[in-house]
Point group: C2
Chain length 148, copies 2
């Protein structure tokens, strides 16, 4: 890793209005460092406790439907930010673990995650941010995002 | 806070050899953003459990001695990095709380703290990093520093 600048920045996005601050920061860091920016959205597994009670229409694949919706949102976001489709990732799984896995696979040297100002990172992003911060093998920038 | 760049970066330093990585990152961020860089070293209170058992020479002020040593190290570091004396802070107290207080007082929009790659931030920096991340009202960059 160059000590002077980052070369591959992975930003975890959730498509919420609140994450515009995080996106603006990601773009600024990309431009400042001349880095490659990759986006990642993680569709969380439905908790088993719920999914057992869900009555879904025959032939309806909820997981695939969630992935499809997220992929369409990601495509729109990537186009708006000028991020090539190949650098826009949608995955299904545990958010924290998936961010770390994708960061390793891509060789990211900086991970950007959102944090909420009033409650702080650990409370609002909960186990996600904690596991990213605990497990990351690269730098992590926690970006303050506004409250709802 | 400008969304495009940081204007005041507070970096918590401990004078260890391992923190050279953190310092290099702080300098790079300062230069990239054209920001003002402030340094902070916190002398932790001696745990009361220890200090009750310490037998100190008459007239010896351990707290003041620790502050003096830290201030000399900070002066050397500030000179090396081209950080004006007025932006080099040495405080005594709880590290996490003190970082947050000084960040607020200075109006920092980015706090840099060191994290260890193998164990992750929360384990090695322990309560310090956690309280900074939980309590910060600005962005926090956790910079990976090498193991001993």
């Amino acid at each position: 890793m160059s000590v002077s600048q980052y070369s591959l920045i992975l930003t975890a996005v959730d498509f919420s209005a609140q994450s515009e601050n995080l996106i603006a920061r990601a773009l600024a860091m990309r431009d400042l460092c001349g880095a490659r920016l990759c986006l990642l959205h993680v569709v969380e597994y439905l908790p088993m406790a719920y999914s057992g009670d869900l009555v879904l229409p025959e032939g309806f694949d909820l997981e695939q439907e969630l992935l499809d919706v997220a992929s369409r949102q990601m495509a729109t976001l990537g186009e708006r930010l000028g991020v090539p489709a190949g650098d826009c990732h949608v995955e299904i799984g545990n958010t924290g673990h998936t961010i770390l896995r994708v960061a390793e696979e891509l060789g990211a040297d900086l991970i950007l995650v959102g944090s909420h100002g009033r409650h702080g990172l650990a409370v609002l992003l909960g186990s996600t941010a904690r596991s990213v911060l605990n497990g990351a093998h690269c730098d992590v920038l926690a970006v303050r995002v506004p409250e709802d």
